[in-house]
């Protein structure tokens, strides 16, 4: 199963589910990362730092650890 962490800057994907990371699940939901939504990886910080994604009409930063809880399906 692919997660958001596996994507590279410039790639887009559709969110399938948020699994694991129970404590951040609700937070991600509130911020609009819900199943069916398309997210795009925009940039990543050096030395394995956080990534910057676009969801709805805004930009969000999260750590790779959180990104690995977001299951995705690559969208063309």
């Amino acid at each position: 199963m692919k997660t958001l962490k596996d994507l590279r800057p410039g790639e887009k994907a559709k969110v399938l589910a948020v699994e694991g990371c129970e404590e951040v699940k609700q937070k991600l939901y509130d911020l609009g990362i819900i199943p069916g939504e398309v997210v795009e990886i925009l940039q990543d910080a050096p030395f394995g730092g956080p990534i910057k994604i676009k969801v709805h009409d805004y930009c969000l930063a999260l750590r790779r650890k959180e990104a690995s809880c977001i299951l995705v399906e690559e969208s063309k």
Binding site: D30, L31, G49, P50, H56, Y58
Partner: protein, 709 residues
Amino acid sequence: MREIVVALVGNPNVGKSALLNAIAGADVKVGNWPGVTVEKKEAFLKYKDYVIKFVDLPGIYSLRNQTTEEKVTIDFLLKEKPDIVLNVVDATNLKRNLYLTIQLLELEIPMVIALNIWDEAVEKGIVIDYKKMENLLCHPVIPTSAKDRYGIDELVKKLVEVYENKRFIQCEHFEPQFEEYLKKVVQLVKDYKPVLLDVYPKRFLAISLLEGSLNETLQKELEEKIEEIRQEIKSLYKKDVKTLIVEERYGVVLSIYHQTVKKQQEDVVDSSITLDRIFLHKYFGIPIFLFLVWLVFEITFKVSSPYVEWLDKVLSVISSWTLSLLDSVKAPEVLKSFVAEGVLGGVGFVLVFVPVLFTLYVIIAILEGSGYIARAAFLMDRFFGVLGLSGKSFIPLLLGFGCNVPAVYATKTIESEKEKILTTLMIPFMSCGARLTVFAFFVSIFFTDNKGLVIFSLYLIGIMVAVLVALILNRFYFKTKSQFFIMELPPYRLPTFRYVINTAWSRVKAFVVEAGTFIFAMSVLIWFLTNIPYGAKKDETILANVSKQVAVVFEPLGFGTWQATASLFSGFVAKEVVLSAMGNFYVGEKIEEEKKNLTFMEGLSEIGSGFVEANINLVKNFVAIFGFTKQEQQEFDKNLASAIREAFTPISAYSFLVFLLLYTPCLATVFAIKQELNSYRWMFASIAINFTSAWIVSFIVYNLLKNFL
């Protein structure tokens, strides 16, 4: 006159404060919410027969009652029951913003929605049919823009109109079947615990009961019945209730969005994304950040320093006037000393921070308002995550090397309570400019061969102790709190001049009133300790007597004399006074400033020419930031130097410096911590942590050096 209470609620970075500023002008009161570190802003506006009180609630993404900001908001909305909620919404980012709007509607408080940042939406070619949105949301929607004061008058008019009509229409916008379930829950509450309906709005109650997020104990039967409904929902929709509720809300949001918003052009190149390609560049991002931080540091201290000097001059003129006045009424010496040193000295301690804080607040308002501060957190997260901090802590910590007081106030930009507390506790270990003067003096006496190395080692010890304290607190105190980093990167925006100045001004005002009163009172107290009995010998004042008792504590550190102890007492007030206090204790001479007798006109012209000079120096300092200037060599008191050479060995001197580095930097910092963390508990904790670590590290350093050198 009747009062209308309006609560401003909205996501972070939607220009809530700027809108409040546009509505109410400069008259914004800044404080803290009780018991937490979150800033509270209030403003009043007279309109027709009403006084409208605006309360700016912290920025939140949802009403989940989890973060401090959410708790403060929910508490205020449910307990204080404002007359109207003014939901401020970013018109360029409607989907996420309307999610909160839908939740706010569940609270059944009359609401007005401000479609803020309207100008930018228009610019971006986003067309919003807000009249239709009004119908779909069942509440008035008004386009506004704080920048060009668009829609402000209409907004105020609407608020009053809504207040006078006192109506609330609840839209039932979820799926019909789900709405039925909500009604069932309400019926259950009516049967089992009707008292809840007096406290909570119906819809909010039903949803939070289903989510299991309500902070109330329920009877077993009620709990079981609700669980039954949850199971029923789960088998019907094939997902758990929490997910379903989020999806239902987003369903409503998307449906409203698609019916009312049209983008004229798809995907215009977003300037924020372009700017981020530079500022968040994988390799250049961090160097750019470090450069900007250096600039912040330089500007904060160099822009303010001419005005600090000028204020100094103003105070000395005032003190000379006061002294002549006292002379003319033949006031006793003790009163003159009290007024000049105790009272005016206290005022001086407070006033010297005003220019530096004002400059800092201006810069912070720009950094925050522009959206760059979030980028700092993004870039530095990798390095600060280990300490349980985010990159936002970097700027306050760095400012600490200039002066700890503005550094503590710079933690305003940190939302997370835990990170804010940690950062604040670390700041006093950052060696400030005032400490450097003492270091330089001692080093010039004892370590002439490797001055730089010794001073560098002190800075390093400060940083290492700060890191150690952070690691220990994380491991043993904040252990329960989990860590994650999910943060919006708001679009880059140019904050308005008006907003920047007004914000800085309200914050400085809050400092002068609150911390200022404390610092002033303490400085008067210190005057009594050091001068009473008046005219006594240097070793017979109250302070000297107390120091003689306490000195034994410093025996194991190598400097257990009353003079050293009394100097440390003075250093607790401010490190700037340590050297002059030492002159007093060791040599018995007061390092007097030359006292001039000025007539009223001479004083005025001194103040005036000083101000002109300050402005010239400001320009010079600006040039100096980008050029090379030589540091001025300081002149040290010869008598004091020889006295110190007698009193200390190089090793005990180093131990003394380590102690001076690590213990509480100054009273102003102490009260800054109290004000910023809104807690006496953390203030005392900080003092305790500083003294303990100072003692332990000095002890280790002294004994290691004594035995191995």
